[in-house]
């Protein structure tokens, strides 16, 4: 139920290397990855979230990729590219790429893919600014946009832009989308249970020594860790901090700890009285002890957040100080807003670990006379409540992409991700300006201004960035770790003793 959204990230990435492999190293034939979130489809254009993206990256490739160390866009299926104009991007494809069905990758496949994307649930919004995609020749594609969009290449590293095979989808309209160019070829997909893959030996890039890969759905996180300790699995994603300890303690395992980009926050419904009053929100901001929340909810792991912006996202700025913990100031603001004796507040919270956060908020806000009730709902209900705008406040999380324009969905008044129903014309104006701005400094200035406004109006109080934990077999390597969906498991291997 985590809403980490599409994500794409940067500098925190490291590649895990087990003891350097030698000539006669033996590799485990099948590697098993446990995940706590379900995979419901293998169609890259239908869903875009962390759990799915990790799988999509195994079977499919995007045109360009992100170098995690430098933060630069690097070639993938496209060897090189060129902006012909602010609205025209031309890409040259590699000519040694094959799909799992044996077909060679051609420009026509790219055209087909982006055409098909217009109907995909997750992709339709992504290509809504595409005017045209044409195959200039067999290995050259040209994308025409309706207006300048600086973040296009950045975005195109997200799996939702992965290239599909036209032939495969014509042959099999039902399952053809599983055919990609990635190193892993789908073997079996049992929804709600597991996805298994065979290595695709005609892969254009470097092959992993592993023959088979399985991504298994294990809903209960403590069980997932135990199965790692048992050797049933070689890698566990998304551990809780309390489980991470056991991985750390175990000398056969190693723990990967990564600063996440998902910002956990406490948001208000800024369009509904009384919380449309900035003063009230500021008062609350002064009464919260974020450190305590990190301590209790995440056992101390996590990075304090001061701005509602991904911490590896373009434009991130934390130069201004945070609201100080100051109960007197909080009470003063309450009084100024007309509530000297405090008021009631309902926090809607999805079931799960965020409930602890809500409990802490409840205790902290009681200090300034705000009487909190906690409304625990499942995530479907939360979404519909926040869409309808019947809520007062809520606790949730949001994962950001590296592209600066990703902030649009958090602040655009029409976006469903803007659960605060926050609307500020200047913010929208700045977002529009920035995305068409090729001058980096000017762009950064625009984004800084947005964050200053948001910091002052505080429709959401950012709490912290969640630390991500992965547990692995000590001899596991080949994974490019990354804060969110850019973690690339396709090279995964385990050395057998």
């Amino acid at each position: 139920e985590t809403s980490q959204g599409d994500a794409q990230s940067s500098s925190t990435g490291t590649t895990s290397e087990a003891a350097a492999p030698t000539e006669n190293t033996k590799y485990k034939e099948e590697v098993v990855i446990n995940t706590g979130a379900q995979v419901t489809t293998l169609d890259v254009q239908e869903v875009s979230n962390v759990a799915h993206n990790r799988v999509f990256k195994l079977t499919h490739d995007t045109l360009v990729d992100l170098d995690i160390d430098t933060g630069k866009i690097v070639p993938k299926l496209a060897k090189e590219w060129e902006w012909l104009s602010p609205t025209e991007l031309q890409l040259k494809l590699r000519n040694d790429v094959f799909f799992h069905n044996g077909e060679e990758l051609k420009a026509s496949d790219v055209v087909f893919t982006f055409k098909r994307a217009e109907n995909g649930k997750a992709s339709t919004g992504r290509v809504s600014n595409f005017v045209d995609v044409v195959a200039v020749d067999d290995f050259t594609v040209k994308i025409t946009l309706n207006k300048p969009f600086v973040d296009l290449l950045d975005n195109m590293t997200i799996p939702v832009y992965s290239i599909l095979s036209e032939k495969a989808l014509i042959d099999d309209p039902n399952m053809g989308y599983t055919v990609g160019t990635g190193v892993w070829k789908l073997n079996e997909f049992v929804s709600n249970d597991y996805v298994s893959f065979d290595r695709f030996d005609k892969y254009w890039g470097e092959l992993t020594p592993t023959q088979k890969l399985k991504v298994k759905y294990v809903p209960e996180s403590s069980v997932s860790v135990i199965s790692l300790e048992n050797g049933e699995a070689d890698l566990c994603t998304d551990l809780t901090s309390s489980d991470a300890v056991f991985v750390e303690k175990n000398k056969d395992l190693s723990l990967v700890e990564i600063d996440g980009t998902t910002c956990q926050f406490f948001g208000f419904n800024a369009s509904k009285a009384p919380w449309d009053n900035k003063l009230l929100r500021q008062a609350v901001a002064h009464a919260i002890v974020k450190e305590d929340i990190i301590t209790a909810t995440e056992n101390g792991y996590g990075k304090l957040a001061t701005t509602f912006w991904g911490n590896s996202q373009f434009g991130y700025y934390d130069g201004f100080g945070d609201y100080e913990y100051d109960l007197d100031e909080a009470k003063r603001l309450l009084a100024e807003a007309g509530y000297p004796n405090g008021l009631d507040l309902e926090i809607t919270v999805p079931t799960g670990y965020r409930v602890t956060t809500a409990e802490l908020l409840q205790a902290q806000l009681s200090q300034i006379g705000i009487n909190v009730t906690i409304n625990e709902v499942d995530s479907a209900a939360l979404t519909s409540i926040t869409n309808d705008g019947t809520h007062e406040s809520f606790v949730y999380g949001l994962g950001f992409n590296t592209a600066g324009d990703d902030i649009r969905r958090a602040y655009s008044p029409k976006s469903t991700t803007n659960r605060s129903h926050y609307a500020n014309d200047r913010v929208i104006e700045l977002i529009d300006l920035a995305v068409a701005e090729f001058d980096t400094d000017k762009r950064l200035a625009d984004y800084k201004e947005i964050q200053e406004i948001a910091h002052d109006e505080i429709p959401v109080i950012p709490l912290y960035y969640q630390t991500l934990f992965f547990g692995t077999n000590k001899n596991l390597g080949g994974v490019t770790w990354n804060s969110t969906s850019n973690t690339d498991f396709s090279g995964i291997y385990v050395i057998e003793k």
Partner: protein, 299 residues
């Protein structure tokens, strides 16, 4: 034609010192050690639940947080240790008795009252009324009780009352069945016919003759269901549909503690034991009552 057996009884129980029926039941109940233990635990828990408000201050003792003392192992200051928000688990378990016992009792009452009502009607009147009631019961039991509970809790919102309703509603079919079966047995006894011959009205026959005699299996079912309701409620907590935080209902405590089950096992141990012993107590008492109330097992 088999009146042989009843004759035996007549001779044996013919006492010049006529012992009262109820005293006799109590006497037999007392002899059942398990049942007495169950009763003892239940009485104790009810007392704890009733006095929890006098013993503890909800705001400070039960939900008051103290992050400095979070996750402390059991000690003299914190008998059961503290949870991740530094709340004293002992106090929470004690206070939780209120929630768990009342969930058990109230949800069972829902099942009991509704189920007995419809079961008695179905059993006594028979015919197409029975057919309709029983088919609806079939439908209700074809919907997994947990799904029913999920639907109710999600539809009405998570609250203690809704949880009780959810668990209670799920137990209705069983009560309908048991009541009906039991009423069917009583319905054909001659004393019902005798009452009818005397001109006693039907509804009065149901209330004063049928139900009292059909009660034994219902009482047993009630105690047993009270136990299983507490378990069901804890299961719903596991699925995130339990009593909303920060109320210390045992199921919620247990389910909240499960992410610490390895490092801080006591967080699940104590609520788990509390549930286990309570349910055990209700079951022991139910079994004891069954032995006492089942006339066939008298000898």
């Amino acid at each position: 034609m088999d009146n042989h057996r009843s004759k035996h009884k007549s001779i044996r129980t013919e006492k010049e010192t006529s012992r009262q029926h109820r005293n006799e039941l109590w006497y037999r109940f007392k002899k059942n050690k398990g049942a007495m233990l169950g009763l003892f635990i239940i009485v104790f828990l009810v007392l704890v639940a009733l006095s929890a408000d006098f013993l503890l201050d909800y705001k400070t003792d039960v939900i008051g947080q103290n992050l400095k003392e979070r996750l402390q192992s059991p000690s003299l200051t914190h008998l059961f240790g503290t949870d991740e928000l530094g709340r004293d688990l002992f106090f929470r378990v004690i206070y939780g008795a209120r929630f768990s016992i009342s969930i058990g009792v109230i949800s069972v009452s829902i099942g009991l009252i509704t189920g007995t009502f419809f079961g008695a009607i179905a059993g006594y009147f028979g015919g197409y009324i029975e057919e309709v009631i029983m088919r609806i019961t079939d439908i209700m039991s074809a919907i997994p009780s947990i799904l029913l509970a999920i639907a109710i809790v999600t539809a009405l919102g998570a609250s203690t009352l809704n949880l009780m309703i959810a668990v209670g509603v799920a137990s209705i079919p069983e009560f309908v069945r048991i009541t009906r079966a039991s009423v069917l047995m009583v319905r054909n006894q001659e004393f019902i016919e005798a009452a009818r011959a005397l001109g006693v009205k039907e509804w009065k026959i149901i209330i004063s003759h049928v139900l009292p005699n059909a009660l034994a299996p219902i009482i047993v079912q009630t105690t047993l269901t009270t136990g299983s309701s507490i378990i069901s409620a804890s299961g719903l907590s596991f699925l995130g549909l339990g009593v909303p935080a920060p109320a210390p209902e045992w199921g919620s405590l247990l389910s909240a503690g499960r992410k610490f089950i390895r490092g801080y096992a006591y967080l699940t141990l104590f609520p788990g034991m509390a549930i286990m012993f309570t349910v055990l107590a209700f079951n022991l008492m139910g079994d004891g009552l069954r032995d006492v109330l089942d006339p066939k097992l008298k000898q």
